[in-house]
């Protein structure tokens, strides 16, 4: 899978600077997402086929949620591609969170290539039903 990056390290063994990382190796796909709100939480469903649990990174930094995953395919040595629609080695997508999200309580799981991120709202922002009293 990482043939591109491997070739680069072979060609420039001592190059460790930022320029050594070609844009092609850094090319990331934007995975399609569903976002919906249910049960006092926002839910994110992200399609990342080929990403294992260990190859998935989910971070919240400064109210920005970033999802990144490396595609891990079982490819034999010496394989050459004859047709490809997936041409990046990784997926990446970022979202800005709103203030009512409790970033400490964010949970995520991956199942069969679909990432499900649950973003609960803070307790103070939960939906409340207001009782209407009769006069």
């Amino acid at each position: 899978m990482n043939e591109v990056s491997r070739q680069q390290t072979r060609q420039q063994p001592e190059a460790t600077s930022q320029e050594a990382r070609e844009p092609q190796a850094e090319l990331a796909m934007q995975p399609p997402v569903d976002i919906f709100e249910a049960d006092n939480a926002l839910h994110l469903l992200v399609d990342m086929p080929g990403v294992t649990r260990d190859a998935l990174r989910i971070e919240v930094d400064n109210n920005v949620l970033s999802l990144e995953g490396d595609i891990q395919l079982d490819m034999p040595e010496g394989m050459s591609a004859i047709y490809a629609e997936v041409r990046a080695q990784r997926y990446a997508r970022r979202f800005t969170l709103s203030h009512e999200i409790d970033s400490d309580a964010i949970a995520a799981r991956i199942d069969n290539g679909v990432v499900h991120v649950t973003l609960p709202k803070k307790q103070s922002h939960h939906r409340r039903r207001i009782e209407v009293k009769s006069a």
């Binding site: 934007q30 569903d34 249910a38 399609d47 294992t52 891990q72 490819m75 050459s80 004859i82």
Partner: protein
């Protein structure tokens, strides 16, 4: 490895190159598209690789149970069909508000032409992390052979 396949471009990558997409729409290419090509990013995406003794097809079918996916080969044409269920929000008693719906759901069918000389009877498929991998061995007589040179 699939990174050097830009010449097979069926369209700009989604989200990566919106400017080129805009330009392509304004000045469309006169080149002919492959008869079975689909809009870029159609679900599921497919990669095909070749080794000396086999062809491997990778179907990027996230969230699809192996039993609902139907893979068939006829005359070197591979057909993948299935149905992805609607994402079911686990809302109890409350309504669900969708903000984005980019993941396709429902029935799909995709067809790709494969190289000649594959042994469809010995094909194997397995599913891992949302990627279905189909292994198609080449027929024995089409494998590369080393020819010994005899000294006279």
């Amino acid at each position: 490895m699939f990174g050097d396949l830009r010449r097979f471009d069926t369209g700009p990558s989604r989200g990566v190159d919106w400017f080129r997409q805009l330009m392509d729409e304004m000045f469309p290419e006169s080149g002919a598209a492959d008869i079975r090509s689909v809009p870029r990013g159609s679900y599921p995406m497919i990669n095909i690789g070749r080794t000396d003794d086999a062809v491997r097809v990778y179907v990027f079918a996230a969230g699809l149970a192996p039993e609902v996916l139907d893979v068939s080969i006829q005359d070197n044409v591979l057909t993948v069909r299935g149905e992805r269920p609607e994402a079911s929000p686990e809302a109890e008693g409350g309504e669900t508000a969708f903000f984005r719906r980019e993941r396709g759901t429902g029935e799909f069918i995709r067809t790709v032409a494969l190289p000649e000389g594959l042994d469809a009877d010995r094909a194997e498929a397995n599913c891992r992390n949302g990627v279905v991998e189909i292994h198609l061995p080449k027929r024995e007589e089409l494998k590369p052979r080393r020819i010994a040179i005899q000294a006279t």
